[in-house]
Each structure stands twice: as structure tokens, then as C-alpha cells.
Amino acid sequence: MQLSREDLLESYRRMKIIRDFEDFLHDEIAKGEIAGFTHLYAGQEAVAVGVCEHLSDDDKIVSTHRGHGHCLAKGCDVEGMMKEIWGSREGLCKGKGGSMHIADVDKGMLGANGIVGAGAPIAVGAAIAAKIDGKDENGNLKVSIAFSGDGACNQGTTFEAMNMAVVTHAPAIFVFENNHYSEHTGFEYAVGTDKDIASRAEAFGMKVWRADGTDFSAVHDTMREVLEYVRAGNGPAAVEFDTERFYGHFEGDPQRYRAKGELDRIRAERDCIKKFRETVTEAKLLEGADLDKIDAEVASRIEKAVESARSAERPTAEDVLVDVYIDY
């Protein structure tokens, strides 16, 4: 891991923000406070952070129904998100969107998405725009990233987007987060290409990478290479990250499709945050105490966000009728 101490601390902080955000939500949802469908990102933090740490606000991402991690990693405001999930009019989307539709276009976050497979074509459009805008003074293109799950990779839209990115030579990156499940179905059943997603992208003519999505430095290093390649104008690329989801598909999922002891095992052996902690402390890059400090700081930040969301202003019936068009 060639990151500076500051960068390592920041990466840990970001992963921890996502973890705590989701852990808190998990508890709050069990209490019945939060409306709607919520899909938690816990377990996959190293992917969102390892990808987005390389991006500026001018690079775009398009997310999924499991979008909190991508939003937070791309710089969406913690309180604004929490308020959105609570349905407040102070929320990032004024309570109109909720968990599945959080977006902050100024941050290059073009939306979580309730429609599985809807994101990849949108990301290709943003990539074509980046191509039109051209390279900066250092010879780099802005990029656009489509996050997709192992389930979303079976949508025709994803296939069409990959092919279109290749033929338009757009700086698009398809990040496949293979957490082994789409809802209650195993990816070994649903993904026909010999249990391999990256090979599909390869077949469309893209350069592809594969890495362990629970290993932050593997994600981060892989993405450095991928981004160098795509920013230089070599066309699109794809990466498949092998990762784990720690909670159910949605909150309330009894997860009877899991093997006995599976959740305990992945939490023990495949927890990206735990692994990060072990790696950096063993290599003496950071002290446990540095990380403990971040833990405490993040926990109180999330707690405050929950408190503020709880007491934030509620929307009114009149709010239903605004923001349909530019003029109302």
C-alpha cells in the first residue's frame, strides 16, 4: 500500500462512515422509524471508497438501489443523506426520493437507482459527455463509472451499455460488485458465463481487471491502473470486485438462502474494515489508537446525523406539486 498516512486515515474514515451509517440505519429500521425499502451497503465499503478516492467532483458515478456507500464515498453530505432517508424536506432530495434515489449531481453523483440495470446506460452518456469535453492540461479525461451488482449484469441494458461504450470509445468504467446474491438468488445460478462477470465485458472488447473487493489496497491499486488507462483515452474498462453484503437484501430479509454460519464467517474473514485495520497496524503504517480515534469521531458524527434527521423539518402536501418541471 503506497498511500500516505493522511490518505490511509481518510480512507479508513470514509469506510467507517459508511459502516456506521448502515449499522445505525439497521437499528433504526428495526424500530420502524424509517419508511420504504432500504438496502444496506455494509460489507462492501472497500469498493466504494477504493474507487471513489480516485475521483474528483467532475468525474461521474451512477449507483444502484444499494447506493448509500457510493453516495458517501463520492462526497454526499452525511446529514443530508440521513435526512433524506428520514423523508425530511431538508434531505438531499427534499424527501422526494428516499434511500433508493439519493443523488447529488454537483458532486458527480448521478443517482442511486431503483431500477436494476438502469445505471449503466446513464453512465455511458456521462462518459460520452466527458469525451466531448476532452482532456485536461495533464492529458487526462474525466471518467464516468457505472456501479452494478452481479444481478444487474444480467440486464440487457447493461449489455447494451457495455457495447455502446466500446463503440463510442467512451471513458466509462463498469464496476461490478459481485456480492454473490441478487435478492435471494445465488450468482452461480443467475450468471451463465462460467460464474464470471468480467469475461462478459471482455467479450465486448474491453480491458478488464478482477480484484478482491474486501481488500482495500487491492481495490485502490487496481483502480489506479484502471483509471490511468481510461483517463488516457483508451476507451472503456471493466472491473469485477468479489465482495460481501453483511445484511439482508433489504431490511427485514430473513436470509434463509445463506449457509449456516455464513454470516459469521464472512464477518470474521471478509470484513474489509477489519482487514484494513489489521494490515495497516501490522505494517506499522498506523497505530490502533489513530483508528480508535476515528471510530469514536465517526460514531458521534453519525449519531448526530440521526438526531438531526429525527428532528428535521417534515414536508407538507404542497411539496408534492413542486419540482415536476423547471417552472413548478
Binding site: G114, I115, T157, E188, A317
Partner: protein
Amino acid sequence: MARKMYRDAVRDTIFEEMKRDPNVVVLGEDVVGGMGTAGGPEAIGGIWSTSGGFYEAFGPDRVIDTPISESAIVGAAGGLALSGKRPIAELMFADFIGVSLDQIWNQIAKFRYMFGGKTKCPAIIRCIYGAGYNAAAQHSQSPHGILTGMPGLKVVMPSTPADVAGLMRQAIRDDDPVIFMEHKALYGMKGEVPDDPDFTIPFGHARLTRAGQDVTILATGMMVGMAEGAADKLAEDGIGADVIDLRTTSPLDEEAILDSVEVTGRLVIVDEAPPRCSLATDLAAIVANKAFASLKAPIEMVTAPHTPIPFARELESAYLPNPDKIEAAVRKALAYN
């Protein structure tokens, strides 16, 4: 009679028909649930629990758990139907017709007509629809209006467990493509369902759920209960309403609507969808055209506004029709002279 939930009426009717007719095939995402996992098939049935036990009873050829591929699911239903099967495809959320629209609109709906009547396409597309779960703009919609506007499709919107059973059996035995709209907020509703294994409800026959002389209220799906709520409240003030549950929007029971309006002279249409180019405006146009002389007041419409469906609890409940809004519309129609 057996007392059961709306969701179980869906499940049980399909199950019985699958036993009766080996050509009936089910396909959709997680309709088995647990495929390719340690838990194994049926570890968890579909998220709506409307296909429990199917896989065990009928196996993988007739109970097809699909990848997330709505275009292919609906298209395959079309191909199955052209090949002598009776597919029942599930769209977990009706909103996903967006992904599969070509296969519904340009293919399945039109085969028979385009092919000069030389074929039939007995496919069912189950669409789980409607608001009430704060599931926001892409998981709460009621797209029956656009589907009703597509020639070639029949559109069914049951509002009770008994109607689910009778209409689902009719849909399975029907030789045309059927959009079967199941309201997600009604899944837990309980009611008496006839035991008769041949119990069917013919399409195009509305159900009068409340009878009165003063006003006609038209509704479908979840709106029926709301219209009944309003009618019961109005009855306390001596105002009598005909509440007509359309049951199917295509074919439409025009006769039941016109007969009632000819008596009451006042019409309130309730629709969960936005108002433009909708079921509500369609019904209003039919009545204005065919029963103009009977009308004593402008036709009132209680619909969602012309907006997407918002997420927050307060916003969604403001968005949706409810008994108070229906009651107010009735009073407005009655006040006109």
C-alpha cells in the same frame, strides 16, 4: 368457501391451475427463491410469497426462476404462449414494465392482430403495483392506464381475494394476453373465496359493491375500499352511492357504468394514477359521450396529481386518493345544480 388472504388467492389459484393444466408455466425473478444458494430452491419464495411450493410440486421446467432480465422474461412469455404454453410471468413491481415494454406493447399485445388472427397468445403478465409502502417513484406506480390503452391486452385489477381467484382462473384459461394487476397493499387483505375448482369471473363484468341513488363512484384495486369507505360515511348522512368496482379495465363494462349514471346523474371517478390520458379521463370521456343527457353535474375525478410518486410518508399520503377526498368530491357533485 375458504377465508384467505389476497396473496394466497393468487398463489392457490395458480397452483390449482398448474395441477389441472400441464401447459401452465410460471416465470420470474425469485419465483423460486434460493436458486444457486446454500439454502437451495425455495429457501425463500418470491418476495411477495405468491409462489410458495410451486417449484417442489412442478419442477424447474415449469417454474422458472429467471435472472434479472425483464425484457427476456416478458419476451419469453410471448414465445411460450405462441408455442402452446400458458405462461404466467411475474413483474415483481409493475414499474418494471418500463424495462420490458417493447415485448408487451409491440410484441405480445399485437401478435394475433398482426398475424391476421391466425394465432393466440395466452400469456399473463402479473404486475405488482400501487403505492402505500413509501417505496417512492420507481416502485409504487399504477400503470394500468397506459396498458389499458394498448389494443390487444386485457387488463385485470382485482380488489378482493375472491375476485383474485375468479379473475386469475379466468385469465389462465383465457386465450388472449392478460395484464394481471395485483395491488401490493391488498396482499394482506382477507376474504371468503369459493372452493369451486372452476370458479371464474368473466372479464368485462363490473361488481356493484354499494348501491345508492344519488351518485355513482367508479374505482379499481385499492381504490375500491376507499370508495366504499367514503360511501359508508355518506350513507350516515342519507346519501346513497353506487360503488362500482370495474374489475377489468379492458374489456370494460360500459353498460354497468352507464346504467348507474343514468339513475344517479352524478359521477365520481377514483383512480390511483396521475390524471392525464388516464383511466379516469377515459371513463369520463365515455360517460360524457354516451350519457351526457343523464348528467346533472360535472364529472368529478379523484386521482393522484400529475407528479411522480414522492417518498416521504406525508408526501405519499398527500399524493394518494383517500376516503376524505372521495367524500368531498361526492359532496361537490351533489352541491352542483
